[in-house]
Point group: C2
Chain length 241, copies 2
DNA sequence: CGTCGAGTTGAGATCAGTCAATGACGGTGG
DNA sequence: CCACCGTCATTGACTGATCTCAACTCGACG
């Protein structure tokens, strides 16, 4: 136990600039603290919510790493995103009052459960929160546009390069290295997200290693040449010249 | 001119059950009428908004048909959606106060411009509107999950079949035939949306014609066997048996 | 130390892409 | 009214990226 009891509240959560609106006054901060009904711990491999379950709350990830995926009746599986600390999951559930995807922890995780009723109530009163909720949803829409571009028009190398750059960029924003990362997901999960088979993901990693762009030791990745990755993502540009 | 002047208002718009919340009282209805700042006519081929432009409003489509697309610096283009009457576009602009995609009319169109400031203001007061805005954004997120599944794991025939079924279903909900439709977009635009080249789209149409599933006369499509299309979308199921 | 899941690598198959020729339609101007 | 042009669509032949199937390796864990 920590000798100094840290108040468990958004207002002094070190992730607040990631998942909360900025520029709130003390009163507003206090009210937002009340948004979080409970903290919930999720073991690696456990699901936070599942397709079909009733939607009641959004979740802010405090620690850990999640994937969200949809499954068709015929067993096809599509990973729709990987989420890390400070990100919000559950937005898919709003439209029909139940979730349409599964959220699975890829490592032990802790989330803040925020009942959506409370969010709506409070965002009627705190404009910054209202705006914030809108922005979070809009951001997700824009992110998915980017994934559509990736899936619709990029080749395997470009997809993987874009994926790695996106991951390190997000990790970097959270204080981690911009050159090293540990993948929390399998090659198959990466492949599912990127619309590739796991063998293709593996081969593409190997190609990057051959080219001296990254070092790969299992799930530990070290980026040796960020610029090369960026060039790969935009390689079409080169080809057009 | 229509001898009886029809008040131009959401409350008696024949699309209201598509783009407005249900179960409002008269007062709420009146206030929502005030959401629409102006109607705007967009000629075929013209853009409603463009990547980079300042975001100020959402648009409800009254008539016509739009595509939204993103373009990378290197000229790659990805159609992110096709929108028809009753649907809302512009959600991508909320997060950064400017649009991140282009919206182009594929036929002469008319939209209701709803300043986002007004929407936020009013949705603080009218709970049903707040809920409605959230649902619209969530629906878009869920739709994009579906597109990710399509792009990430379906083959050409499955993609086109899913696309056709989706289109007729939406058209049917608007009172059009469930078996006939006129495509407002080129093969290239369909291909961009589905992550295929235009030749593949064309060939796949031809295959469907050969198989007696549809009739194709340029952009005029008649569906002869809806069940076959559904089977194609789920063909994985068959293969798994 | 053996087992199991995850990852790598190879060889061959396949689906979609590329390049190119041709055809259909609609609008324009003589 | 018709010829011409441009855009869109179709089709064929060939190419190539990714998938599939299969063998093998690695590392974690009981």
């Amino acid at each position: 136990m920590n000798p100094i009891a840290i108040k468990v509240a958004c207002s002094n959560c070190n992730l607040r600039e990631l998942c909360m609106p900025l520029g709130l006054n003390q009163d507003e901060l206090d009210r937002i603290d009340s948004l979080v009904a409970v903290r919930r711990k999720i073991k690696r491999g456990a699901t936070l919510f599942r397709n079909g379950e009733t939607f009641t709350a959004l979740y802010a990830i405090r620690t850990g790493f999640f994937k969200t995926s949809i499954t068709t009746e015929d067993g096809r599986d599509q990973v729709t995103g990987f989420q890390m600390a400070g990100e919000i999951i559950g937005l898919d559930g709003i439209v029909n009052d139940h979730h349409t995807c599964d959220a699975v922890a890829l490592e032990d995780a802790e989330v803040c459960e925020m009942p959506f009723e409370r969010i709506e109530e409070l965002s009627r009163e705190v404009n910054a929160l209202q705006r914030h909720v809108h922005k979070i949803m809009s951001r997700e829409i824009v992110r998915e546009h980017g994934v559509m571009l990736l899936l619709g028009s990029m080749r395997a190398e470009e997809r993987l390069a874009a994926f790695l750059l996106n991951l390190v960029q997000r990790l970097h924003a959270r204080g981690f290295s911009a050159l090293e990362l540990v993948l929390r997901m399998t090659r198959e999960e990466i492949g599912s997200y990127l619309g590739l088979k796991l063998e293709t993901v593996s081969r593409t990693f190997s190609k990057f290693v051959e080219d001296g762009i990254v070092e790969v030791k299992q799930r530990h990745i070290r980026i040796l040449d960020t610029e090369a990755l960026k060039r790969i993502v935009n390689q079409q540009t080169q080809a057009c010249l």
